[in-house]
Symmetry: C2
């Protein structure tokens, strides 16, 4: 089962160690039955089977390599069986490139259907959503956000559901712990996640024949903010017959803490892995976090922000340009300062939006609540993330990581 | 002033008279400074400077030739001066093809900011909107739907505003009478519209130097449902130095009555016009109405339905296919019968949506309130209208109008 026909991961280049900037950054090529991905790469969220505001052809035209469907949303609507009947999510949504699904756990454990403000800020580290009813050895029980039905998701269910959805890469179910849980809770949760992982692997081993096509399994490392637990989880995970890994669980309360936790999660994972395996960082996608994560050997990232920011009127721009405050990586086009701004959303961008319309026009559309504002911004934000990942890959290829990090993040 | 540099209209073919199907249908080529239009053609509404749910490149890829901006909405937000500062609406919205603006009158006289149900059914023939305050010789006074400000729009204002917006073809301000007004009201309204037309023409004559580029002026015929008034208005309009005409005012209470009113409006207009001039039918766009209008010599149509229906989950299909009830020309994808339908929205369509995803997928997106449903449907509906117009042009070219009308409208 450690053999995944149709899948491969090859590291093509690593950064030379620099005493001022220790980096495990690497470029690679991830091969799937639906094509290859140049890594580090960004995976765009198609939560319910659609990248919000961007059609697949537009996403591809702007350089998108990889998309992600959310098992939690898709299992509830339209349901994995219906997706399987439609030929799997690739065919259903008209995306023929590489695709990943998460296990459903993150949404069950952490994500409520929050307010707009909550949506913008995210709530990765917030307390439990009240829709989570209980976590037991068997699985997690929650209320459907659609109709309030009580549903138990087991590790085996998650694998079977992801088989039906048919993404190239699927994830094991983990317990995603909230921020501020203590060491004891985290250790017990990690142990539960490891037992769930073994059940997931067993289910994955027998379920292949019911699948839409070949799939590869990723494990998830846990251990919260505790270095010894992260090491223990990394060693457990590296010993399993996974194709790749995801770094999960609590990553700390702010960007600096996350950077530290990713470091303590990645070091033992890299050390324990004899051959290169692709590593995904779940739910992380700011400019700074991508540069910092890639520096620690992260190969893929995902985040809802490109389309979420777009829906709220914002366009990514390079923080190093100096046009944003507080190190932000986006501008909000609703701001009156853009009312007469004849320039493109992002002076450095070659996307369909930036090459055709101005900030003043998008400002007008945002003010008028026109849905095309979200479309134009989403197209740009997709292109921006793909340009960001290209810049990271180029920095690795040119062995010039520290300087380009600074250019992008600080200017 | 009857000379419009950069503009031309040439009739390329007419239908041979058929005693069972008298038709004035014709194909033509309308030349503007932003390119040519094969007529009969559909003009897509970009009300606030955006075709809702469809970006200009997508609209063009689906065969769109011509777009329309609404002076009423644009004068209020972002304002004609700002549009002029952005280089005109073409440049602002990234559309480099032919464009028309209406005068602003229709929205002032007839269109409230209605409910969803009202939006779907339209309210062309409803009573006055309460935002209209008064109609005087000088112009019409109304309250802005944005901030409630009291605004008077004169015929001269409308021309100046449309100069700033910079569409290729602009319209004179008319009083658009509601349904059920009597002959006396209609006659007085028509006379006012004719006096406003003369003022519009005078303003157009002196204002050219302030414009973003060459523009051509269309007159509007009135006369409501009264044959003698329609004749009088047609003769007045044909005597003015217009480049083209629009058929305006009350067209009756239902499709059959509209058909009759268009006939009595068109006959004297065609008779009074020594050289071919393009004729636009305002706010009409169902499959049946397009075939019937083109049969009477209408060259261009506009209607908000392609994008409006899309926002409400509906896809145009040919009524003659027999899949709809009551002669409708669309299906609503929210309907449970599409839940497992693996076919394209429209089995006859070659658009980006129909060639990539199924009815079942769009049903899922509509149910999940995903904005991509509206995008996918809008792309299809735009393509559908362009295919419809191609079919009308082909029917004229093949001299086979009656049979193809039946194929499309009745099956």
């Amino acid at each position: 089962m450690t053999d995944y026909p149709g899948f491969a991961f090859e590291v093509t280049r690593t950064v030379t160690a620099d005493p001022d900037w220790p980096s495990a950054a690497r470029t690679g090529v991830l091969t799937t039955p639906h094509g290859t991905v140049q890594t580090p790469a960004f995976i765009f969220c198609a939560t319910r089977g659609a990248i919000r505001g961007v059609l697949p052809a537009q996403a591809k035209a702007e350089g998108t390599q990889f998309v992600l469907g959310n098992t939690y949303h898709l299992m509830l609507q339209p349901g994995a069986e219906r997706i399987a009947e439609m030929g799997g999510l690739h065919r259903m949504m008209g995306w023929d490139g590489p695709m990943l699904t998460d296990s459903g756990g993150f949404q069950i454990f952490s994500l409520g259907q929050g307010s707009g403000a909550k949506e913008i800020k995210g709530n990765r580290n917030s307390t439990r959503d009240p829709s989570l009813l209980r976590i037991e050895e068997e699985g997690a029980t929650f209320r459907s956000y659609i109709d309030g039905a009580k549903i138990t998701l087991t590790p085996e269910d998650s694998i079977r559901i992801q088989r039906g959805i048919g993404a190239d890469i699927i994830l094991v179910l983990d317990e995603c712990t909230p921020y501020h849980v203590d060491r004891n809770y985290t250790a017990n949760s990690m142990a539960l996640t490891h037992r769930w992982a073994e059940r997931s692997i067993a289910e994955f081993g027998k379920a292949e024949e019911g699948s839409a096509g070949p799939q590869a399994l990723y494990g998830i490392t846990q251990g919260g903010v505790y270095e010894d637990l992260r090491r223990e989880s990394a060693e457990f995970t590296a010993a399993q017959p996974y194709f790749g890994y995801a770094v999960g669980g609590c990553l700390g309360g702010d960007a600096a803490e996350m950077d530290e936790v990713v470091k303590i999660a990645m070091a033992p994972l890299n050390a324990a892995t004899p051959v290169a395996r692709p590593i995904h960082l779940l739910g992380v996608g700011s400019v700074r976090d991508v540069w910092n994560g890639a520096a620690k050997g992260i190969d893929t990232f995902d985040c809802v922000n490109p389309t979420r920011l777009a829906r709220h009127g914002s366009a990514y721009i390079r923080p190093g340009l100096g046009e944003t405050e507080d190190g932000r990586d986006f501008i909000n086009l609703k701001n009156a300062r853009f009312r007469d701004d004849d320039g493109p959303l992002d002076p450095e961008c070659d996307c369909a939006t930036c090459t055709s319309v101005s900030r003043a026009y998008v400002h007008h559309l945002v003010k008028a609540s026109e849905i095309n504002a979200g479309q134009l911004l989403a197209v740009h934000n997709v292109r921006f993330m793909n340009r960001l990942m290209q810049a990271v890959r180029d920095a690795i290829a040119a062995d010039d990581y520290a300087a380009r990090w600074k250019h992008w993040v600080e200017g």
